[in-house]
Symmetry: C2
Subunit: 242 residues, 2 copies
């Protein structure tokens, strides 16, 4: 079973205060980039893997999705998602992405935001999603960027000229990474970009786009602290078609 850090009370309390949890999708600076990668949602059967509070599930329905299934490991998340949603075509379910099985060819769009880097067996998950999509169906997901996650001490340093710099080491050594993020010992799984993309290709997906979120000049003008995101890629965004 995947680590369920989101049901740690201290973690959950702090996590709930993130801009993206309070303000929803528009509180996530990468949301505009994700939107640009999404296919037309109208009429589609959507599964959201790691649905959290249900922000994306509700947005998908506003865009005309015919149904949305939201999965999350966290009881806290699913409870809050249910409380915040009044829509018979959205179903929320507690599920571990490490082991969950979905019905075959049952979805037109699989979506996941910042969840897959918690999953140890990425290959199993991607093959399962491929089978759960109808032919022509699309997978759009974001993860922490492998460059962001690789190092032993993943935090800003200064280069010899004082420029904000991100350290990279043990990049090719894949596997568990423990970090302290609202709680001690949050477990993530590092995979290289090559492994990430080749897992999709070998599962039968055709890659449609690979993006690395960088803030726009307008975003930096509005939120100056975002400027540091130009220095190193924090998120990898991928869209692919079955």
């Amino acid at each position: 079973m995947a680590q369920n850090i989101y049901d740690n009370p201290h973690f959950f309390a702090a996590y709930s205060q993130l801009s993206r949890q309070i303000r929803g999708l528009d509180g996530a600076p990468e949301w505009h980039a994700i939107r640009a990668m999404l296919p037309t949602v109208s009429g589609k059967r959507v599964v959201d893997l790691g649905c959290g509070f249900g922000w994306a599930a509700r947005w998908m329905r506003e865009q005309g999705a015919s149904s949305v299934l939201g999965l999350d490991l966290s009881e806290n998340m699913i409870s809050r998602a249910k409380a915040d949603t009044n829509d018979r075509e959205i179903e929320y379910r507690i599920a571990d992405l490490e082991t969950v099985e979905l019905p075959k060819a049952a979805f037109d769009l699989a979506y996941s935001a910042l969840a897959f880097h918690y999953i140890r067996d990425f290959n199993r998950l991607i093959r399962m999603i491929h089978q759960a999509l109808a032919p022509g169906g699309e997978l759009v997901f974001t993860i922490e960027h492998p460059i962001f996650m690789a190092a032993v001490h993943p935090h800003w340093i200064a280069d010899e000229g004082g420029r904000k710099t991100w350290p990279v080491n043990r990049y090719s050594i894949e596997g568990e990474r423990q970090t302290d993020w609202f709680a001690k010992g949050v477990i993530k799984y590092h995979r290289t970009i090559g492994t990430t993309l080749n897992t999709l290709i070998r599962s039968g997906f055709q890659l449609l786009a690979v993006e690395e979120f960088a803030p726009s000049p307008e975003q930096i003008a509005q939120t100056p602290e975002l400027a540091e995101e130009l220095e190193r890629p924090m998120m990898l965004l991928v869209s692919a078609r079955r």
Copy 2:
């Protein structure tokens, strides 16, 4: 016109002493990974973009390629390639990848090793290669990894525990990078991984594999200094099909 650093006498003299120039393909630690990405070469019409001394061109013919066209900007390189080759089905030609045009649908395999990061207009080059390949033809190329090339001061540093660490900054700021490598002011062009891959996809290529060279335990046992290549990706290897 692309910078022609290879015809700088000092650069060329030093460059010619690299293991991969003296020993040929087996002197390049990433060669076994490239081989694994290449399609069957036998019977194929091959173009090698940035052919250098012709090591790969001659290997392609040994594998049964029906013809090989080797292109390089450097007169030094092409002279040496011609001197070292005795094969009527290999043609070497001085050409600037920044502007060269190839006949349409004339090749089954386009190959390039560590040349495309010198090219400013990657989009033009990739569209031209796409047109030069017959349908089903493949492009296999290597470049310096965008993570390797991004920083203002791209050299090893130590992290707080003393571990070899590679600095990353200005990753999302694409464009010219000047480094000193055998000569001062060698000009390269940094593009993100996203830009690199999306340029291929938008030109009509289907991505087949994306690899980041990492040495095997056997390679490290034989050449211990290769171990540092586990810490950060130095090369990006891509195969794609028209």
